[in-house]
Amino acid sequence: MATNFFPSSADMLKFLPETVLTLAGTLLLLVEGFKKERDSRTGVAVFTLLAIVAAMGASVVAYQNPGLAFSKMVISDGFAAFFRVVAYVVGIFTVLCSMNYLEREKAHTGEFYILLLFSLAGQGIMASANELMMVFIGLEVSSIASYILAGYLRDDKRSNESSLKYFLLGSFATAFLLYGVAWIYGMTGSTNLGEIRTALSSGAPSSIMVPAAAALILVGFAFKISAAPFQAWAPDVYQGAPAPVAGFLSAGPKAAAFAIFLRVFLTAFDPLAAKFAPVLWMMALATMIVGNFAALWQNNIKRMLGYSSIAHAGYVLVAVTTHSTMGTAAAMFYLAAYALMNYGAFAIVTHVAGDGEKHVTVDDLKGLSQRQPAVAALLTIFMLSLIGVPLTAGFFGKFYIFKAAIEGKFVWLTALGLLNSAVAAYYYLRVLVVMYMHEPETTEHPEEIPGGVKLTMWVTAAATLVLGMFPGIVLDLANQFALLGK
């Protein structure tokens, strides 16, 4: 135990991003109390953006002060910094897309941004947790804020349903996780990842309870990353949540959940790797299959992207299954690429859906290439990237994952996973089909694209293409930061 209870300033630096976000959120909470409902929230949004940018800077500071902090509860390393930045970038896109959206849906209040900041802080904690209790706290901070964000349009039935489902199933999963943590503590006498690893590798508690406890924790994570058979919530939640929030949920919290999943299973449960390989193998395959095949029948585009995000979680699970540094790097690259392309797609959905999100079926995109050629072209880039066509980020994402899988001798998983991505081509292509090969049904003049959405979609598209040609920009970082527990 640390002799000095008060954290040193060096410790504070390692926790700076979360501190910045929490302070900013708290400050906004105070300010919001003095605002009237009709007041403009532009200032709040801009402040939120600045706070997230500051947190990004703080992540760099934290990265430059590597090591453990707060009695080994928090770890600051490249891995944490990587996932913090991914989450923050998604956060910035969310703010940009939400400003106009909330105005349009008449729900523009400051709490949205406050919750977003808290959720991001939670994801930062998840990325940097070195302790099972911190894992739990991070998950809860991130999730509880996310539950409310999903139900932010409180007059909308769908949004309410989304929030309630997310909350009930989410709490259930967290309970599993917590139960697993308790068992682990019971057997190893610690909740610290490093100490658990030492205890497990010395082989002291050899009972069946250890893998069982790890399995309980796995269930908790599997829920958060929407892996089969714990994926059922994802499509409902994404369909009902406000479009910018759905994009956020599919990219930010998911990346953070993968971060903590990777960290726990590569450090604490590293000695159990051989036991879990078949489980992860099955889970990866099942997740890909369930996601892709269910997406084939969807007409609601948000729901389709929900199933698609399940399938993509399956691809990342393939990387996790390899239990290697290369696989970890591939997963990191994939999550970054996925965040970009998927948020881009959701940004466009935000815009195209229109007032009250009325136009969210695939058919509503009919003739989009003629009504709004630029939007259609950008959505094409995102869809091609989600399919995994070369010269897009999505291709390199899949490429690195399956390369890692092949080198880890998971040949069959690779073949099946790649065939899955051919199946996936079908439903992504449907979007291109309706946009380019059908005549527009409405003669309505397209609405002006709000600046924030426009910026988001151009930036994500450009990033998707740049990463598709020069993946080294992100991959080199991922390779460098993937050395967990080594």
């Binding site: 399919i387 070369p390 390369k403 092949i406 790649l418 065939l419 051919a422 090969m437 080294g472 991959l475």
Partner: protein, 513 residues
């Protein structure tokens, strides 16, 4: 940066310029696309000199690093085979563009932009010497063709476009798995480096590995060829595609598959090739006969030509797996021939369609009366397609049959029936379309060739004659390149050759019967 890089980059530059050109003036867009692609063709002719001097080796090589981890290189080069395929692509692109001037009225800009993007992908496929790069170009070709079929095609275009995309995708993901597996073993995507490692014994594959890798590559290529029974996407894609799309698809895109077999499968997996040649040739023979028989009963002209492609491509695959110089030379020659003559056929069918707005043979008849020149040109192309001596297909089919005879005489016998059947279906179609009574609507709508149409078809007619009469221009370089591939096949598999030759041949003959 050498001439080959410029030839590769130009279509991409053209594509990007097309994207930013203003939408308004259709004629500017058309003329730009045409002018640009003619320039690309002109520049690409400059490649021939050096490549023809040393056709056995790679010329115009550029080899620079693209991505550091994993080591992916931009490695391109040209030998005697790929030279002709690159020229075929650059030659047919301007013709396809010119051909679409009156046919494409909607979204003109996107149409020509996609044709240029397609050209970029095709050239890339034929010159890539790095597996990763090859895969990238392979997939790049998919996207523009998908849009060409899906946007500008006929009634069932969407079904055809999606089917085309998914079929190709299924094959290519398995190829990607195989490429990754090879990388895992050898640590490089560089094709010449891989070959050297295999020859020097640094990289050895077990029997199972070699078979599975071969099959993964082969499946991707066979879908693209397409080899019976994987051909079902082809008639749909062809029938629904706009004329320019059909021309590019038949003339160049199908060659991606046969080129892939020649360039990668044969030299890398000699043992697997020998062992599997039997059933592959059986499928090729079935394709030859089956394609021809199905073509015979088609009421739709485009479908007829599409099935005739299945039959013709069967010849190419037969030649590739004969395992001798005749067969390989014939196969490559036939790849080019098919590009020229089937491209011309699709074009001519397109001309008819633009006049009568029908592809059904029954809607025509007596076209020779109102359009004598059109029917003459069609006849020449038909004769070329059925392998009339002094025209191009004769040479290729002859060589393939020669090669087949050398390997197993029964293969040649069965394949030869395909030649006979091709005369039946082509001439029968010709008779029903061009001779007989001239219905009112035909007399009214069908006029003779326009100047623009002459401009499109004349180069193809000239090539049919040239390739039929003066094979010296083409064959020596093709032969030299093929010899390198063939030598590699035979030296690497030396230990197995003692026992191997008789068995698969006899087996295949049994299957064939």
């Amino acid at each position: 940066m050498n001439l080959l890089d410029i030839v590769l980059a130009l279509p991409l530059i053209g594509f990007l310029i097309m994207l930013v050109l203003p939408k308004g003036s259709a004629s500017t867009l058309k003329n730009f696309a045409l002018g640009f692609s003619v320039i690309v063709f002109g520049v690409s002719l400059g490649l021939a000199g050096a490549a023809l001097q040393r056709p056995a080796a790679m010329t115009w090589v550029t080899d620079v690093a693209w991505i550091s981890t994993p080591a992916i290189r931009y490695h391109v080069g040209l030998d005697g085979v790929s030279l002709w395929l690159v020229l075929l692509s650059t030659f047919l692109t301007p013709i396809s563009i010119l051909l679409s001037f009156s046919y494409i009225k909607d979204r003109v800009k996107e149409f020509y932009a996609f044709l240029l993007l397609l050209e970029f992908g095709l050239i890339g496929v034929f010159i890539s010497l790095d597996f990763f790069l090859f895969y990238v170009f392979w997939e790049v070709c998919l996207v523009p063709m998908y849009f060409l079929i899906g946007i500008w095609g006929h009634d069932r275009r969407i079904y055809a476009a999606v089917k085309f995309f998914i079929y190709t995708m299924v094959g290519s993901v398995l190829m990607l798995a195989a490429i990754l597996y090879l990388y895992g073993k050898a640590g490089t995507f560089d094709y010449p480096a891989l070959l050297t490692m295999m020859q020097s014994g640094k990289l050895t594959l077990t029997h199972v590995e070699e078979t599975l890798l071969f099959l993964a590559f082969f499946l991707a290529f066979a879908i693209k060829v397409p080899l019976f029974p994987l051909h079902t996407w082809l008639p749909d894609a062809h029938v629904e595609a706009p004329t320019a799309g059909s021309v590019m698809l038949a003339a160049v895109m199908l060659k991606m598959g046969t080129y892939g077999i020649l360039r990668f499968c044969l030299p890398m997996f000699p043992v697997a090739v020998k062992e599997n040649a039997g059933w592959i040739i059986t499928l090729a023979l079935i394709g030859i006969v089956y394609g021809a028989l199905v073509a015979l009963v088609q009421p739709n002209m485009k479908k007829l030509v599409a099935y005739s492609s299945v039959s013709h491509l069967g010849f190419v695959v037969l030649g590739l797996f004969c395992g001798n110089q005749w067969g390989l030379d014939g196969a490559v020659y036939q790849m080019l021939n098919h590009g020229i003559s089937t491209g011309a056929l699709f074009m001519l069918v397109g001309f008819l369609y633009e006049r009568q707005h029908s592809l059904e043979i029954k809607d025509y008849g007596g076209v020779a009366t109102p359009a004598p020149w059109l029917s003459t040109v069609f006849l020449v192309t038909t004769l070329a397609s059925i392998g009339m001596p002094a025209l191009n297909n004769f040479v290729g089919e002859f060589l393939v049959l020669q090669g087949a005879t050398q390997a197993n005489v029964w293969w040649a016998v069965i394949a030869a029936t395909g030649v006979i059947l091709s005369a039946c279906y082509m001439l029968w179609m010709y008779q029903r379309t061009f001779y007989g009574e001239t219905p009112e609507s035909v007399a009214h709508h069908v006029h003779d060739m326009t100047a623009r149409e002459w401009l499109c078809i004349t180069p193809l007619l000239a090539l049919m004659l040239w390739m039929g009469i003066y094979t010296q221009t083409f064959l020596p370089s093709i032969g030299a390149s093929n010899k390198v591939i063939l030598d590699r096949t035979q030296t690497t598999s030396a230990p197995l050759r003692v026992a191997a030759p008789v068995v698969p041949a006899a087996e295949a003959a049994n299957h064939g019967n």
